[in-house]
């Protein structure tokens, strides 16, 4: 029998000696081969499984203090996840000690801030002062947290109606500079500026409303204009970055429209809608359409905007308008397009029992029927749908449901069923007759 098996102690001893040797070697040469291969294998295993390592999980080489902090954190987490806020608050009274530890990390500081605010959210007797203290203290605990906490602080103030205070916070954060800027920090700065401008816009709106009520002097007018200028600089800046800027662009366009700068407004909206670096935001086209409509743009431009929206969101509620626009135009191809748009709308569950769409479809089909070869056109559009449309719309279950909930819908649908699916015997229609 091998010795190692009979005497595992011996073997481990030998292994230990081996380790010691390796240790000695690795001390001399940190880039030892065996060492690095060990590391890489560990990494590989780690990345293979989607497992998470949490802060509250025991780590190696932790001292007594860190160990008790971790246990405390575990208790806090447990209490918070089960929404036992009082208990969490009691533990939390001790946890900030971790901030006094020399090696506390940004994550730990952020954690202290996050947990404290969350607990404050849920304690019945927390006051605004408590929040301010937490935000202010933790803001200055680390440079990496400053911008984020400032922004959150201003959100908190905004949500509680302290718009002036929030603006003050944002202004302070705006002028904060520290070392080299990372991308996220840069973006956060821009976001802070944009939010500040949004608050400027709000003040602008309020002043403007006052102004129109009071018919006051030029100086007031000037100050209102100042707000516009302050806001527009930053808003213009942030709109250059790809992103979702719905509230910012709306306020910017409103201000531009007020001062009659329609060119700039249209340019901003066009960029927002058609710039490929931006995400495909349906609202961009929606704003565009609304702006065009407000300024009585020609139908062609409206239809173009809606066409783009249709590509993105075929189920958008503006598609009803689009189909009626298409129906109004004289071109035959447009009527066919309208048929396509409506059929696509009806593919979606949310429109399936909507009477307006079915009525629209009925109108389009009638329009088509006035011309020759309409069956071909319908067939073409229904080609890809013929297998599942009957199951989607025209089963006996649907008939029963429609007759119960909306008899008019039943009527419209029944008349269309035969036209849309001519070569199939439908229970929907059969039951009707």
């Amino acid at each position: 029998m091998p010795e190692g098996i009979l005497h595992p102690d011996n073997r481990t001893e030998m292994l230990n000696v081996g380790n010691l040797d390796k240790d000695l070697e690795s001390h001399g040469d940190p880039d030892n081969d065996s060492d690095s291969s060990d590391n890489s294998s560990k990494k590989r295993r780690k990345s293979k499984l989607p497992l998470v390592k949490h802060l509250y999980v025991e780590s190696r080489n932790e001292t007594g203090f860190l160990g008790s902090c971790r246990m405390c954190l575990e208790q806090i987490r447990e209490a918070m996840l089960h929404h036992r806020w009082q208990e969490a608050a009691e533990y939390m009274a001790c946890y900030p000690q971790i901030l006094e530890h020399q090696k506390n990390t940004t994550a730990q500081r952020e954690l202290v801030w996050r947990i404290s605010t969350e607990i404050l959210h849920h304690l019945p007797n927390s006051t605004m002062d408590d929040y301010n203290i937490i935000y202010e203290r933790m803001k200055h605990s680390g440079v990496k947290l400053y911008l984020m906490i400032s922004l959150e602080h201003s959100f908190h103030l905004m949500l509680h109606g302290h718009i002036e205070d929030a603006k003050q916070q944002l202004c302070v954060a705006e002028s904060w500079r520290y070392g080299k800027e990372t991308t996220s920090q840069l973006q956060r700065t821009k976001l802070i500026q944009a939010y500040r401008s949004l608050l400027d816009y709000i003040i602008w709106c309020d002043k403007k409303a006052n102004l129109s009520k009071n018919h006051s002097f030029d100086s007031d007018n000037q100050s209102v204009h100042n707000y516009f200028r302050q806001a527009s600089v930053n808003l213009q800046e942030i709109l250059k970055n790809p992103g979702v800027w719905d509230p910012f662009i709306l306020s910017y366009v409103e201000m531009l429209e007020f001062y009659g700068d329609h060119e700039e407004a249209l340019k901003v909206l066009t960029d927002y809608a058609y710039d490929n670096s931006f995400p495909p935001n349906p609202n961009a086209h929606f704003y565009m359409y609304r702006y065009l409509k407000r300024h009585d743009a020609p139908e062609k431009r409206l239809m173009k905007a809606l066409k783009n929206l249709h590509v993105l969101v075929p189920s958008h509620e503006l598609m009803l308008e689009y189909s009626s626009l298409l129906l109004q135009s004289d071109k035959r191809s447009d009527t066919q397009k309208a048929l396509g748009v409506l059929l696509e709308m009806l593919d979606f569950g949310c429109w399936r029992s909507n009477l307006d769409v079915w009525r629209c479809l009925q109108a389009v089909v009638r329009e088509l029927q006035s011309e020759d070869g309409w069956e071909g056109v319908v067939c073409e559009r229904m080609e890809t749908r013929k297998y599942w449309w009957p199951a989607l719309h025209f089963t006996s279950f649907h008939a029963a449901k429609d007759s119960e909930e909306n008899p008019k819908l039943l009527e419209v649908k029944a008349s269309l069923a035969k036209i849309l699916c001519p070569d199939r015997r439908l229970r929907y229609a059969a039951e009707q007759s």
Partner: protein, 975 residues
């Protein structure tokens, strides 16, 4: 309206790139306490009309469990349970050892056959001749090898001969080279560990609830020991919980374990698709029709996903590890709709694929570990449109990967949930790429089960349940919006109950049953679903959600959550400084609750049980009897606060109801019965006892001895036949003497005394501490005063003579004390620092008693006239104790007062004052201008002190100076 798209969304940056490192600076801190964004709402016309909404709102609906434990739904069946703790791959040496020890024939078979004839293992020499010459006798090894099975001390049981054989043969005797075996074992253990930590096969979960009407429905879940039997249980959600119908479930035996069950119902008809590793089946049923199997398809590669269409009944998506997604129209067969050889966005080295339907019946989601694409089934060649990808747009962390995607049709027709190990995202398919919402779900293990909690009628708020496998977690997330308003999350994630935590709330189990139950309850989760309904059953019933969880042991546990709309709880800090009244009210109520908390806690379950279940009225009565108990609870400040807290937070009741307890009791009983009482491990190390107990040789014993033995045997026999007790009369005298009584006085250090006291119960122990810390000085003083007063009255009643002697005594005692102090500082300090505690005062007192009962001797010893025991002395022995405790430190208890005519009271008060205040004591000492007493007095002390030699030395060193001295006083009267 479902088709509306929010008019304005929360602002965010769009960074189309791989996850960047800078985002994750503090990402592990969790997702608490952030608003993430704000959006102005309101009319611009009025100056104060502006309000903001945040992307994360502080509070959501409050859901609380009706019971503190999850309740088992099905009775426990036989199940295979794997290991629960993931093995450490580095333990392979241990596994190798086990293999060599337990499977020696496999490990050493070949060589042992060859070498066998050269070794001889039997005992003795005779048979040896039969064997070949030259064979080695190994019989001494036999015992040694026998012991190898056990974990014994290898040094102690070592054998040098064996060591030499080892070095000789270790490299030839093994059938499998250890290097090879070791690496294979390591690999296998690694794989096992990975599988236990995260097993993607069960993604989606094998539990489905198909609702019919009014809380009734059908629960499809796997059963049988291998989870290879599909059961359809009829269940109903009632006020008490989930009720199984008494009918036998419809069940279908399958060929492989069930991994996932997907279902969809459309207009009263329901389709259930079941996925096992290589087979997928579809069943169809309705409320009135029995389930019936429609079709089974097999896939060449392992299937990873099955998903039933919510639009068209009978359409199922099947994805497999080949990278293909198939549309399976039941009855027609599979049609390939998307094939992908590689991962979508980057190489994640994973063959896991997932499919879901979307709002459009012909657009499907195709997902792998890197992202989700929207694919139009009608145009096979067309590339998909990215719905979600692991990128910095979604602020993903590096290493994040997609675990599951789920169509949230119940909550919003355009929403999809994407879950990763860190976060959960809500994606709107109308606006791909940008997550509408992101949560940090903060779960320990990756969530691979997901279920949408349907919206309540008229409510926008929807819930999402995420479930993990190995840790059995369920997390409830809430969100709202997506129609008129943009999506926003509500409240922090809420963790629900886990089956493995149930035993804490249940009555204590016998250890080996506890082990069975614990193992069974900690089996990994295998599925998750929920039922939404009214708890009362009627239209006005409370909104409730029942969450069901399946474990791999085949058990289903449920918990009922009720919505708790607490108006006071909803109060938000609207203003910067809330009005004083509001605060006052809050504090008032909380303190109120704190006081009556425990009583309420006992009263609430009582009423519940009574009106919920009349058959359980007995349990209710039992509770009524218990109501006075909380009075004791209140004594403990800790218990009172925690109890009050539980009430205040409006959480679940602390103890499970009697019905739940009953269910659990039955369940655990059945479990023990099913699992069978395991025989005690027969492989225990047995010690040789054969020659240990032997009667010494008969020759040594005399005839008398033998005779006695004989008679004893006879008697024993007689007793046994008459079934009576054998009483040893004569021989009893030879029994070993009882060891001497332990005298706790002998150990006089603090620890020993504390331990001694603790034998007398907690009260005494606590009292000792109080004394030691000097916490009860006040009360003692009070007691003493009372006693003295009584004493004085008694004396007054007894007559002049006594009073006189009493005053005399006090004067004398004062002098002796003074003497003691001034002459021997060590003594005073020793005594003042706590010489005798209350505890052993009995012992001390008895000694003192003896000491005092020989007054003459003392008198002769010194000039101090020791008072003779007063006539009352016997009747109030107590008095002595009091004075004993009063004696205290001899540190010159203010001399002037000593001499006054009222020795007791003033004396005492000053005594305590001085003791509490060392400075004051010192001043007293200084002020005392007494002559040095004669040496003889000291001798009295010396003799006294020598009667307790052990006590003195440690006393000097020990104890805080402020330790109460009340108990440490020797009776002054004696001097």
């Amino acid at each position: 309206m479902d088709y509306q798209f929010p008019e304005r969304l929360f602002p965010c940056f769009y960074n189309d790139g791989p996850p960047s490192g800078s985002v994750q600076s503090g990402a592990e801190a969790g997702g608490w306490g952030c608003y993430y964004g704000a959006l102005p709402q309101g009319v611009a016309d009025s100056p104060s009309g502006w309000s903001f909404t945040s992307k994360h709102q502080v509070r959501g609906q409050t859901w609380r469990q009706t019971e503190p434990v999850a309740i088992p739904l099905l009775s426990p069946k036989k199940a295979f349970l794997g290991v629960l703790t993931p093995p450490d791959p580095l333990d392979f040496t241990e596994h190798m050892q086990n293999f060599y020890v337990n499977y020696g024939h496999d490990a050493f078979g070949c060589m042992s056959d060859i070498l066998g004839e050269h070794f001889y293992f039997r005992f003795g020499k005779k048979q040896r001749e039969k064997h070949r010459r030259g064979s080695v006798s190994m019989w001494t090894m036999k015992n040694f090898i026998k012991r190898m099975k056990y974990k014994t001390c290898h040094l102690m049981f070592g054998a040098s001969a064996l060591g030499s054989y080892c070095s000789l043969l270790s490299d030839v005797v093994l059938d499998v080279p250890p290097e090879l075996l070791g690496s294979l074992l390591h690999e296998e253990l690694t794989e096992q560990r990975d599988r236990l930590l995260f097993s993607e096969r069960t993604t989606g979960g094998a539990l489905a609830f198909v609702p019919f009407s009014r809380g009734r429905g059908c629960l499809a879940c796997p059963g049988g020991p291998g989870l290879n039997r599909l059961n359809f249980h009829r269940v109903e959600l009632q006020r008490r919980g989930v009720e199984l119908s008494s009918r036998e479930p419809h069940s279908f035996q399958l060929e492989a374990p069930i991994r996932q069950i997907s279902h969809a119902s459309l207009l009263n008809d329901c389709c259930v698709a079941v996925r096992s590793d290589y087979l997928c089946g579809a069943w169809r049923f309705s409320e009135t029709n029995e389930p019936r199997l429609l079709q089974v398809v097999s896939t060449r590669e392992a299937a990873t996903c099955v998903s039933v269409s919510p639009h068209v009944l009978g359409e199922v998506l099947v994805a497999s590890e080949s990278g293909a997604a198939n549309l399976w129209t039941v009855g027609r067969g599979l049609q390939k709709v998307r094939v992908e050889d590689a991962n979508l966005y980057f190489n994640a080295k994973s063959w896991w694929r997932w499919c879901e339907f979307s709002a459009h019946p012909r657009v499907i989601l195709y997902a792998d570990r890197t992202g989700v694409e929207l694919t139009d089934v009608r145009a096979v060649s067309a590339a998909g449109l990215t719905l979600f990808r692991i990128s910095s747009t979604a602020a993903c962390r590096s290493g994040e990967c997609l675990l599951q995607s789920r169509y949230l049709g119940d909550a919003h027709p355009f929403h999809h949930l994407v879950a990763t190990q860190y976060s959960a995202y809500v994606m709107d398919e109308r606006f791909p790429c940008v997550p509408m919402l992101k949560w940090d779900h903060m779960m320990e293990a990756p969530p691979i089960f997901c279920h949408a909690v349907p919206r309540a009628a008229g409510s926008e708020t929807a819930g999402v349940l995420l479930g993990s496998q190995s840790s059995q977690e369920i997390t409830l997330l809430q969100y709202s919006g997506g129609r008129v308003q943009p999506c926003f999350s509500l409240g922090p994630p809420q963790a629900l109950l886990r089956p493995r935590e149930s035993l804490r709330h249940l009555p204590v189990q016998i250890p080996h049953r506890l082990e069975t139950a614990t193992n069974r309850l900690s089996a990994p989760a295998a599925g998750l679903t929920c039922i939404r309904g009214n708890a009362g059953g009627g239209p006005d019933g409370e909104e409730c959600v029942c969450v069901l969880q399946l474990t791999e042991a085949g058990d289903v546990f449920y918990q009922v959550l009720k919505q708790n709309e607490d108006p006071s709880d909803r109060r938000r800090p609207e203003t910067s400084a809330p009005s004083a009244e509001a605060q006052l009210v809050v504090s008032d109520t909380s303190s109120d609750e704190e006081i009556i908390g425990p009583t309420q806690a006992a009263a609430v379950p009582e009423t519940q049980t009574v009106d919920s279940d009349s058959s359980e009225a007995r349990g209710g009565r039992r509770r009524v009897k218990r109501t006075p108990l909380p009075v004791f609870v209140n004594d403990d400040p800790d218990a009172a606060t925690t109890d009050g807290e539980e009430k205040r937070s409006g959480r679940t009741p602390a103890a499970p109801g009697s019905r739940t307890l009953h269910t659990w009791k039955v369940w655990l009983q059945k479990l023990t019965y099913r699992s069978g009482e395991k025989a005690l491990d027969s492989d225990l190390l047995t010690a040789e006892t054969k020659n240990l107990l032997t009667v010494p040789d008969g020759e040594a014993r005399g005839a008398e001895e033998e005779q006695r033995e004989e008679s004893l045997r006879r008697e024993l026999k007689a007793c046994m036949s008459s079934r009576s007790l054998l009483l040893l009369r004569g021989s009893a005298s030879s029994a070993a003497p009882v060891p001497g009584a332990v005298d706790p006085e002998e150990w006089t250090d603090a620890l020993s005394r504390r331990l001694t006291v603790s034998w007398r119960g907690e009260e005494a122990w606590r009292a000792w501490w109080h004394d030691n810390m000097g916490l009860n000085v006040e009360s003692k003083v009070e007691a003493l005063r009372r006693k003295r007063r009584r004493e004085k009255q008694a004396r007054r009643a007894a007559g002049r003579r006594l009073e006189l002697s009493g005053s005399f005594t006090s004067t004398v005692s004062y002098q002796t004390e003074l003497d003691g102090f001034s002459s021997s500082a060590e003594w005073s300090s020793a005594a003042s620092q706590g010489a005798w505690s209350d505890v052993d005062s009995d012992g001390v007192l008895s000694k003192l008693d003896r000491f005092l009962s020989t007054p003459l001797h003392v008198q002769t010893d010194g000039p101090v006239p020791t008072p003779t025991p007063t006539p009352q002395r016997d009747e109030n022995h107590e008095q002595q104790i009091v004075s004993a405790s009063q004696r205290g430190s001899p540190d010159t208890t203010s001399s002037s007062q000593r001499r006054t005519k009222h020795p007791a009271r003033d004396d005492l008060s000053s005594l305590f004052e001085t003791q509490d205040n060392p400075a004051a004591a010192a001043s007293c000492q200084v002020s005392s201008s007494q002559p040095v007493p004669p040496r003889t007095t000291r001798d009295v002390f010396a003799s006294f002190a020598s009667s307790q030699p052990a006590s003195r030395a440690p006393q000097g060193r020990r104890g805080p100076p402020q330790a109460s001295q009340t108990q440490k006083k020797k009776p002054r009267m004696g001097f």
